[in-house]
C-alpha cells in the first residue's frame, strides 16, 4: 500500500501538464485578443463608430383567404407610415418644420407626439402619420438628405373585403400584446416581437401558423444619422453576409360560399328602410353541406369590421365594440349556447321510436295541459287538438305528445341519443373558443347539484328546455345527420391549403365522427314529420316554405325566463326585449336528396317560425338558385300545382259547407 502523498507525487507530472495546458489555452485567448484589438482594432473601431450594421426583420406576407369559389375574402395591401427616429433627429427644428409642411400636420402636434414617446429608447421610431399618400411618401424619400431622422415605414394592411359579413369566422389580426408575448413565445417556440401581428380571432387565430409564414431578415448598413446607406455588398468586413428572404405564408381556401354568406347576413340584418317588416336580428346562421361536412356559410350578427384591427384600432371603435350590449365580438354560432327549444323534439322522437316507447301508430291527444303530480305542463297552443301520431306531433310541435313520451323515457337514454348526434359536445371545428353546450344526465346533475334527477326535468328536457343547451352549429350538424341518415361530421371550414405559387399543398376532408344506425322507419317518420312542418298547411313553418325549396325543418322557441301560468299565452312581442323568447329554426333541403342543412338562432326573436325560419329559407334559397337551379324550377312547378290543388280542395270544401248550410237554411 502506498502512502497518500506518494500517490499524489506519483500524479505530479500530469498536474504539471494540466497547468501548462491551462496557461497555453489562456495564451491563445490573449493572442486572439491581440489579433482583434490591436491588429484589426482600427478597422473594427471604424465599424463601430461610423457604420452600423443593422439587422432588419422582413416580415413574411401573410397568406390570403379565399372563398370556396375562389373569390378573395381577405387580402393584403401595402400602406406607409411616416416615422421619426429621435436618435438621428439632428437639425430638429428645421426638420420638423419641413415635415409638418409635407404631412400637413402642425409643428406643435408633431412635437407633442415625439414628446409623448420620449421615455422610449431613442432608436425606436415614432409614428407621426399613418397611411400616408404616395405623394407624401415621394416627398419624404426625395428630400431624405434634408430630413435626417425622418423615414417611411412600409407595412402591410390586412383588408377584409366583405367587412362585417362572416367577420367572426374569418377573425382578425392585431399586434401581439405585452402579456401575450412571453406566453406565445413559449407556446409556439417562435421568436415573436412586439409589433408583430398575429391572428387573434377566428380562422386568423386558429390558422395563424399556416397563414403567417416565416419572417426573414436583411442586413442594412446605417450611417451615423440612421439613414440606410446601402445594402451590404462586396469589399468590406461583412462580405458574404447573407440576407434571408422571408417565406410567405400559405393561403387558405375556405368551404364558405360568399353568396350564401351574403344571403344569410342580409337576412339577419334586415332592411333599414323597412324595419317593421325586416328587423335587425341579433343572431346567427350556419349552413352545412350534409354530404361533405363542409361549412358553407357562417354568419353572426351584430358583427365588426376586422380590417380596423390590422390598421391599428381606433379607441372609439374599440369602445363601441366592447360597450355594445349585444357583444358584436361574439360568434353566436359556436361561442354561445342556447336552449334548443322544440328543435330538440326530433331527437326525443328518435329515442322514443328506437326504444319502442312509441311506434308509427301510437296516438296521443294533444291537450292544452298535462299534469304530472302537482305541476301543470302547458302546450304552446292554448286549445288542444285531436289525437295525433308522431308525424303530426312534430308537424304541430305538440308539447303534450312529447311530455307523455318523456314519462316513459329515462333521461340517460334520451341523453344517449342526443349525444349521438353531437349535441352537447364541441364539434371540433378548427375555430377557437367553441362552447360545448350541455346534454344533462343523472350523473351530471348529481355531480353538479348533489340532487337526484326529477321526472319533471325529463319532461322539460324532452322539448329542449331546462338544462339542455346546444350551439347553433351543433344543431346544423345534428339535423345534417338526420338529413343524410346517420353521418355526424366534424365539420371543416378550411378546404385547401395553397402555396404562394398556387399549388395545393393539402386538401382537407371532414371526418365522419359517428355513423348512427337507426331503423329505417325511424328515419322515415322523423323526416316526414320535419317535411310536414314546412310543407303542410298545418305545419308550424308553412308560411316560411319559400318557393321551390323542398325544405324540411323544425321551429323552436326557447324561453328566456320561465313565465307563470297566467302569462304563458301572452303575446311575446308585447314583452320587454330581454324577456322575449329566442327563435330557432333548423332545416335541410332538398327533401328527397338533402344537400344542405342550415340552422339559425335569433335572440329574442319570439318565434322560430317568424324570426329564424326566414333566415334559413334565404340561405337555402340562395343555395338552390346557385347550385341546383334546374331542380328548383321543377320544384316550383310542382309546388304551384300542389298549392292550386290545395286551394281548389279548400274551395270545394267551403262550397260544400256553404251548400249544406244553405240546404239547412232552406229546410
Amino acid at each position: 500500500m502506498f502512502a497518500e502523498d506518494d500517490i499524489i507525487k506519483f500524479h505530479r507530472r500530469r498536474v504539471t501538464i494540466i497547468a501548462y495546458i491551462v496557461t497555453i489555452s489562456f495564451l491563445v485567448l490573449v493572442l486572439r485578443l491581440w489579433f482583434l484589438q490591436i491588429y484589426k482594432g482600427e478597422t473594427l473601431h471604424e465599424y463601430s463608430v461610423q457604420n452600423r450594421l443593422r439587422k432588419e426583420v422582413v416580415r413574411a406576407p401573410r397568406g390570403l383567404i379565399y372563398s370556396r369559389n375562389g373569390q378573395i375574402l381577405v387580402d393584403n395591401f401595402p400602406r406607409f407610415d411616416a416615422v421619426v427616429t429621435r436618435q438621428f433627429l439632428k437639425k430638429r427644428k428645421k426638420t420638423i418644420k419641413r415635415l409638418s409642411q409635407i404631412l400637413d400636420i402642425s409643428v406643435k402636434s408633431i412635437e407633442k407626439m415625439i414628446r409623448k414617446n420620449s421615455s422610449q429608447a431613442k432608436y425606436i421610431p415614432i409614428t407621426i402619420k399613418k397611411n400616408i399618400s404616395s405623394k407624401e411618401m415621394a416627398l419624404i424619400e426625395t428630400e431624405n438628405s434634408e430630413l435626417p431622422g425622418v423615414s417611411v415605414n412600409a407595412f402591410i394592411s390586412r383588408e377584409y373585403l366583405h367587412k362585417e359579413i362572416g367577420a367572426h369566422a374569418l377573425g382578425y389580426i392585431s399586434e401581439i400584446s405585452q402579456e401575450q408575448l412571453p406566453k406565445f413565445r413559449k407556446r409556439d417556440k417562435l421568436d415573436y416581437r412586439l409589433g408583430d401581428f398575429i391572428g387573434q380571432f377566428g380562422i386568423e387565430e386558429q390558422w395563424d401558423r399556416t397563414l403567417r409564414g416565416i419572417s426573414g431578415h436583411e442586413y442594412v448598413e446605417v450611417d451615423a444619422l440612421g439613414r440606410k446607406n446601402k445594402y451590404i455588398n462586396t469589399d468590406n468586413l461583412f462580405k458574404g453576409i447573407e440576407d434571408q428572404a422571408s417565406i410567405p405564408g400559405q393561403s387558405l381556401k375556405l368551404t364558405l360560399d360568399s353568396d350564401l354568406q351574403q344571403a344569410g347576413y342580409h337576412a339577419l340584418v334586415g332592411d333599414e328602410k323597412n324595419r317593421a317588416k325586416f328587423p335587425n336580428k341579433v343572431g346567427s346562421v350556419v349552413a352545412l353541406d350534409v354530404k361533405t361536412g363542409e361549412i358553407l356559410a357562417m354568419v353572426s350578427n351584430p358583427s365588426f369590421d376586422p380590417s380596423q384591427f390590422s390598421r391599428g384600432l381606433s379607441a372609439d371603435y374599440w369602445s363601441q365594440l366592447i360597450n355594445d350590449d349585444n357583444n358584436p365580438l361574439r360568434d353566436r354560432n359556436i361561442q354561445e349556447h342556447y336552449s334548443p327549444g322544440s328543435t330538440f323534439k326530433p331527437f326525443t322522437a328518435i329515442a322514443a321510436l328506437e326504444e319502442g316507447v312509441i311506434n308509427e301508430k301510437s296516438k296521443i291527444r294533444c291537450h292544452g295541459t298535462f299534469k304530472l303530480g302537482r305541476k301543470v305542463y302547458h302546450s304552446w297552443r292554448k286549445f288542444g287538438t285531436e289525437k295525433v301520431n308522431i308525424v303530426d306531433a312534430l308537424m304541430q310541435s305538440c308539447n303534450i305528445f312529447f311530455y307523455k313520451v318523456a314519462t316513459e323515457l329515462d333521461i340517460d337514454v334520451l341523453a344517449k341519443y342526443a349525444k349521438m348526434f353531437g349535441l352537447g359536445s364541441r364539434s371540433g371545428i378548427s375555430l377557437p373558443r367553441e362552447v360545448s353546450g350541455l346534454i344533462p344526465t343523472r350523473e351530471w346533475k348529481m355531480k353538479r347539484n348533489g340532487v337526484d334527477w326529477q321526472l319533471g326535468e325529463t319532461l322539460s328536457c324532452s322539448i329542449g328546455q331546462s338544462y339542455v343547451l346546444t350551439s347553433t352549429l351543433q344543431l346544423a350538424i345534428a339535423y345534417g345527420a338526420i338529413a343524410n341518415e346517420g353521418k355526424v361530421f366534424k365539420p371543416i371550414i378550411v378546404k385547401e391549403i395553397i402555396d404562394r405559387d398556387g399549388t395545393v399543398i393539402e386538401k382537407r376532408k371532414a371526418e365522419v365522427t359517428r355513423e348512427i344506425k337507426l331503423k329505417q322507419s325511424t328515419w322515415d317518420l322523423v323526416k316526414k314529420g320535419l317535411y310536414q312542418v314546412v310543407n303542410s298547411p298545418n305545419g308550424t313553418a308553412w308560411w316560411r316554405r319559400g318557393f321551390g325549396l323542398e325544405m324540411a325543418g323544425k321551429t323552436g322557441t326557447a324561453q328566456v325566463v320561465s313565465s307563470s301560468a297566467d302569462k304563458i299565452y301572452d303575446k311575446c312581442e308585447n314583452k320587454p326585449y330581454e324577456q322575449r323568447h329566442h327563435g330557432i329554426f333548423v332545416g335541410f333541403a332538398p327533401f328527397d336528396n338533402p344537400r344542405i342543412a342550415v340552422a339559425s338562432m335569433v335572440e329574442h326573436g319570439c318565434h322560430g317560425s317568424s324570426a329564424a325560419a326566414p333566415v334559413v329559407a334565404a340561405v337555402i334559397n340562395e343555395y338552390m338558385e346557385k347550385y341546383m337551379p334546374k331542380e328548383k324550377r321543377e320544384n316550383e312547378k310542382k309546388q304551384t300545382a300542389q298549392y292550386r290543388r290545395y286551394l281548389a280542395k279548400r274551395q270545394q270544401a267551403e262550397e260544400a259547407k256553404k251548400k249544406e248550410e244553405q240546404l239547412e237554411e232552406d229546410e
Binding site: 494540466i18 489562456f26 473594427l44 473601431h45 452600423r52 443593422r54
Partner: protein
C-alpha cells in the same frame, strides 16, 4: 476557545474567496454598464449582487465542511442529485414545459448546475480507491464512465447540450489526471472524433447544428447567430488597446449586441477596457486556476487532490469556452463566464466550488 477561533481564522484560506470577490466586483460594474441603457434590464445588477451575496454565504458555509465528510457522502450526494435530475425530467414531461428547473417555493433549482460538482465528488471517490498506485487502462474506465455519462445524458435530453458536454469534459480532465495511458488516450480520442461526427449528424437539434455551421462561417449564417458573433468581434476589436472607457460601449448600448448581460458580457468588458483591461481579467482567472492546481499537489489526501482538479476543470472550461465563443474561436454555446455573467444558478455553482476549495485548503492546517 476564543483563542482557538482566532487561530482558525488566521489559518483560514482567503485566497479563493478574495479572487472570486475581485472578479465579481469587475463583473458587476461591467454588468451595470452593459444594461444601464436598456430599460427592461434596469436594476438587474442589484439582483446580481443579491445572488452573489447568497452564493458567497453558501460558499462560506460549505468551506466549514470537513473534507472527510465529503468523502464519506460522495456517492449519496451524487445519487440524490441524479434523483433530482430524473425528477426534473419526469415533472417536465408532465407539465409539458421547460425541463431544467425544480421549483421549491420562491427558489428555482437547476439540478444540472450542481450535478457538475456532484459528479466530481463521485468520480474522485472512485478514482482514489481504484488502484491509485498505478495508471489507468481502458477497462478501469468502465465504472467511472457510468458515473459521468448517466448525468451527462440526463442533462443532454433536458435538453441542455452545453452543460451535458461540460460534464464529459470535466471527466476527461480527471481521467487524464488519473494517469490514463497515452495509448488509451489515443484510442479514446479516435472514438470521440467518430462519435462526435455521428452526434453532429443525428444527435443534434437543428439550431445546435446551425451554431456549429455558423462558427465555421459566421458570415453566411441564416439564423442570426452569426450576427452575434460578428457584432461581438466588432465590440471587442473596437476596444483597441485601452478601450472606449467605462460606460462608453456603443455596440452593446445600441442593442447591436444581444444577450450582452449573460453570455456576451466579456465583449462589453473588452470594448470598454481594451486589450489592457482584458489582459488583466484573464490574468486574474489564470491566477485563480493555478491556485487550484497548486492546491491539488499540496493536500494530504488523494481524494481531495482529485476533487480540486475537478473543481478547477469546472472553472476552467466555463472560462475558456465562454471567452473563446465571444471572440469567435468557438461556436456559440450558452455557457456563462464565472462571476461575470448574470445569473443566479451559475453564481451558486461557482460559490460552492470556491467554498469546497477553501474547505480542502483549510483542512491541511486545521482539521
Amino acid at each position: 476557545m476564543f483563542a482557538d477561533s482566532i487561530e482558525y481564522f488566521k489559518k483560514y484560506d482567503y485566497s479563493f474567496l478574495g479572487l472570486a470577490l475581485t472578479i465579481f466586483v469587475l463583473g458587476v460594474l461591467n454588468l451595470y454598464s452593459a444594461t444601464h441603457s436598456n430599460p427592461s434590464l434596469e436594476g438587474i445588477y442589484k439582483t446580481q449582487i443579491f445572488y452573489f451575496f447568497i452564493s458567497m454565504m453558501i460558499g462560506v458555509i460549505v468551506s466549514f465542511i470537513n473534507p472527510k465528510n465529503l468523502f464519506r457522502y460522495s456517492y449519496i450526494i451524487y445519487g440524490f442529485n441524479i434523483f433530482l435530475l430524473i425528477l426534473v425530467l419526469v415533472l417536465g414531461k408532465i407539465g409539458m414545459g421547460a425541463q431544467r428547473w425544480l421549483v421549491l417555493g420562491p427558489f428555482r433549482l437547476q439540478p444540472s448546475e450542481l450535478m457538475k460538482i456532484s459528479t466530481v465528488l463521485a468520480l474522485a471517490r472512485w478514482f482514489c480507491k481504484a488502484n491509485p498506485e498505478r495508471g489507468l487502462v481502458l477497462k478501469d474506465l468502465i465504472f467511472p464512465s457510468f458515473i459521468a455519462f448517466i448525468p451527462a445524458i440526463l442533462i443532454i435530453i433536458q435538453p441542455d447540450l452545453g452543460t451535458g458536454l461540460l460534464i464529459l469534459l470535466i471527466y476527461a480532465v480527471l481521467v487524464y489526471y488519473r494517469k490514463l495511458h497515452w495509448k488509451s488516450i489515443t484510442i479514446l480520442a479516435f472514438i470521440g472524433l467518430i462519435s462526435g461526427g455521428v452526434m453532429y449528424k443525428y444527435g443534434l437539434k437543428e439550431y445546435q447544428r446551425k451554431r456549429i455551421q455558423t462558427f465555421i462561417n459566421p458570415y453566411a449564417d441564416a439564423k442570426g447567430s452569426g450576427y452575434n458573433a460578428i457584432q461581438s468581434e466588432i465590440a471587442i476589436g473596437s476596444g483597441r488597446l485601452f478601450g472606449k472607457g467605462y460606460m462608453k460601449s456603443s455596440q452593446g448600448a445600441l442593442a447591436f449586441l444581444p444577450e450582452n448581460h449573460t453570455d456576451f458580457v466579456f465583449s462589453i468588458f473588452n470594448e470598454e477596457h481594451g486589450f489592457i483591461g482584458a489582459l488583466f481579467l484573464i490574468v486574474l482567472y489564470l491566477i485563480l486556476l493555478l491556485r487550484f492546481i497548486w492546491l491539488s499537489t499540496a493536500v494530504l489526501h488523494f481524494y481531495e487532490s482529485i476533487v480540486v482538479i475537478g473543481l478547477m476543470s469546472i472553472f476552467f472550461w466555463h472560462t475558456l469556452v465562454n471567452m473563446s465563443m465571444v471572440m469567435g474561436l468557438m461556436p456559440v454555446v450558452g455557457l456563462p463566464l464565472p462571476f461575470m455573467s448574470y445569473g443566479g444558478s451559475s453564481l451558486l455553482t461557482f460559490g460552492v466550488v470556491i467554498g469546497l476549495a477553501t474547505s480542502i485548503s483549510n483542512s491541511r492546517n486545521l482539521f
